[in-house]
């Protein structure tokens, strides 16, 4: 079976661990590529830097934290949406911020979903599971799009 990948861009190690724990509950861990900042996420998507030699193709979904060092989530989102090769990739913002300005800006840039990380762990796990389930297993992408 083809391993469909999730790109998870998250700088906070604890949030990363909790998210992976959430995905693990649905046995989706082996499909997660982790980027620790916006640059790494873009390097992966554009097959450059340490991902220069990877098998080309796009992830099923990008889970994007907003507040990250170097290049933040909104900038990653902007670059993906302006790249004709990448612009169709489903992007879910997974953030602590419930600020209106972030929501508005994310939707202006064409995000597919905006999810606030719940403080309560069981809800957090639930949210991560739902995202994984929907975007990896339920959502359909055009046939000509190459998924890895």
């Amino acid at each position: 079976m083809l391993m469909k990948k999730i790109l998870l861009a998250e700088d906070n190690p604890f949030d990363l661990e909790l998210t992976l724990a959430g995905l693990a509950e649905y046995r989706l861990t082996n499909e997660v590529v982790v980027a620790r900042d916006g640059i790494e996420a873009l390097d992966y998507l554009k097959c450059r830097g340490r991902y220069a030699d990877r098998v080309p193709g796009s992830p099923m979904v990008v889970l994007l934290d907003l507040k990250m060092p170097k290049v933040d989530g909104l900038e990653v989102l902007r670059q993906i949406r302006h790249d004709p090769e990448l612009h169709f990739i489903p992007i879910v913002i997974l953030t602590s911020s419930r600020e209106e300005q972030d929501l508005v800006e994310s939707y202006n840039l064409g995000v597919n979903a905006y999810v606030v990380k719940p403080v309560a762990f069981d809800k957090f796990v639930d949210v991560v599971k739902q995202i994984g389930l929907f975007w990896v297993l339920t959502n359909e992408v055009p046939a000509n799009v190459r998924i890895v």
């Binding site: 906070n12 604890f14 949030d15 909790l18 724990a21 907003l66 507040k67 953030t95 602590s96 911020s97 419930r98 600020e99 209106e100 300005q101 990380k117 719940p118 403080v119 309560a120 762990f121 069981d122 957090f124």
Partner: protein
């Protein structure tokens, strides 16, 4: 057509009127009518441009006491000066008082001498360009008194002949106080504008700071809480077999505390947003809104016996999203605090109160002690322990903030064990 200057004519006429104390009222009225007609004629002539043939009124020195009475005792400073030499020919008492010079000093000076140097060019220019005519009015002259003090005067001038010389009769109205008051008003206005600008800038800065603060609270404070809860849960799962009951309880207290703080942060942010959010003033149908909120709160009413009475509710002017928060808070409070009642009653009614609608939400719940009524609407103020009724103590503070922003009032009445009623007022929606 021989025309006399209007004012000189008036002067002349009033002199004659004073002259003849025996004149009857009827005669005087006739005189006044004639005078009015004459003034109208003169006005007409002036408008027609026939004033060019103006011949100045001659004040004869032998006009006698009566002409000089008006001049001498007029409360406004007056003088006559020679058009050629600019020398003062006569001054009245009011001028002597206003400028501090004695009559002798005045009569040895020219009209240049009562002006500050910077006004001289304007004066000379004015004298040259002054049209030939009976009367001129000009404003905002600066004169200097003997003591050197500057005064502002409005000047009325009449062309006259005096002692056979072409002269001007001047009335100098001291408007220094008015000028000062006007300038003071201008200064105060500028000061006020500057202060408003300052305050606005301060307010904007404070608002920005507040936004940055709540952004950071929203984003940065929640992350550690999520980690506390997440990892204590993971620990509890991982060590489930080895943890004794007490250790398990400790871990769940840690989790609960983190969640509770998360809730507090969320509520506090929502509260702060209510103060900053833009507010719309549109018609809001409270009946629909209450029905909506009531429906939304159905899960909280599960397993309860609640008798709802929802009266006729008005259409008010306000922000629907904010008013929804008000109703949600007040109705869920009513549901929460009637929990111990086997048969709960909650009513929502409206009545007209002066210019506003008064909405009352009454329940037969546990009530509260009126002694603490003032604390109800404060942030983080609670009248119940958490074990009795859960809550963060922000709901009613938010309610008050929203109603405040709508220009309404909110208050409560209650009695321990006998229920509580919350009131608020809102402006009616008036169709324009």
């Amino acid at each position: 057509l021989r025309l006399r200057p209007v004012a000189a004519y008036v002067l002349d006429e009033s002199r004659r009127a004073m002259d003849d104390q025996q004149k009857t009222k009827a005669e005087l009225l006739t005189d006044i009518t004639a005078l009015r007609t004459r003034v109208a004629e003169l006005e007409q002539a002036r408008r027609n441009g026939s004033a060019g043939v103006f011949v100045p009124y001659e004040i004869k020195t032998d006009d006698g006491l009566n002409a000089s009475l008006l001049f001498e005792h007029h409360p406004m400073a007056m003088w006559i000066y020679d058009v050629e030499t600019l020398a003062f020919l006569a001054v009245n008492d009011a001028a002597i008082q206003q400028y501090d010079y004695s009559r002798e000093e005045f009569l040895s000076m020219t009209i240049r001498d009562i002006r500050p140097a910077e006004e001289l060019p304007r004066l000379l220019d004015r004298l040259e360009s002054l049209p030939v005519g009976p009367r001129n009015v000009s404003h905002d002259w600066k004169h200097r008194t003997k003591s050197g003090a500057l005064i502002y005067v409005d000047v009325i001038s009449y062309a006259v002949k005096f002692g056979g010389r072409l002269a001007k009769l001047i009335l100098a109205n001291d408007v220094t106080e008015r000028q000062r008051a006007e300038q003071e008003i201008l200064r105060l206005n500028r000061e006020l504008e500057r202060r408003v600008d300052d305050r606005t800038a301060q307010l904007e800065a404070a608002n920005k700071e507040l936004e940055a603060f709540s952004y950071s609270v929203s984003h940065d404070l929640r992350a550690p809480l999520r980690h506390i809860d997440g990892f204590s849960r993971l620990l509890a799962q991982r060590e489930a077999a080895r943890l004794d009951e007490t250790s398990g309880r400790y871990l769940s207290i840690i989790s609960d505390a983190a969640r509770r703080m998360g809730q507090l942060i969320d509520d506090l942010l929502a509260f702060s947003r209510m103060g900053r959010a833009e507010m719309r003033a549109l018609p809001v149908d409270l009946e629909h809104l209450v029905a909506d909120v009531h429906h939304e709160l159905a899960p909280a009413c599960e397993g309860r016996s609640i008798d709802w009475v929802i009266g006729m509710l008005p259409i008010v002017r306000g922000d629907a999203a904010m008013l929804r928060i008000v109703l949600t808070n007040l109705l869920s409070n009513a549901i929460k605090y009637t929990a111990p009642r086997p048969a709960a009653h909650i009513s929502i009614t409206a009545s007209a109160d002066d210019d506003a609608w008064q909405i009352a939400i009454a329940d037969n719940g546990v009530g509260f002690d009126m002694q603490y009524a003032h604390k109800l609407f404060g942030v983080f103020q609670r009248l119940h322990r958490d074990e009795e009724f859960e809550g963060t103590g922000i709901g009613l503070a938010t309610v008050r903030r929203i109603i405040d922003r709508h220009g309404g009032r909110v208050w409560a009445q209650g009695e321990i064990g006998a229920g509580a009623t919350f009131f608020f007022t809102l402006a009616p929606y008036a169709q324009e």
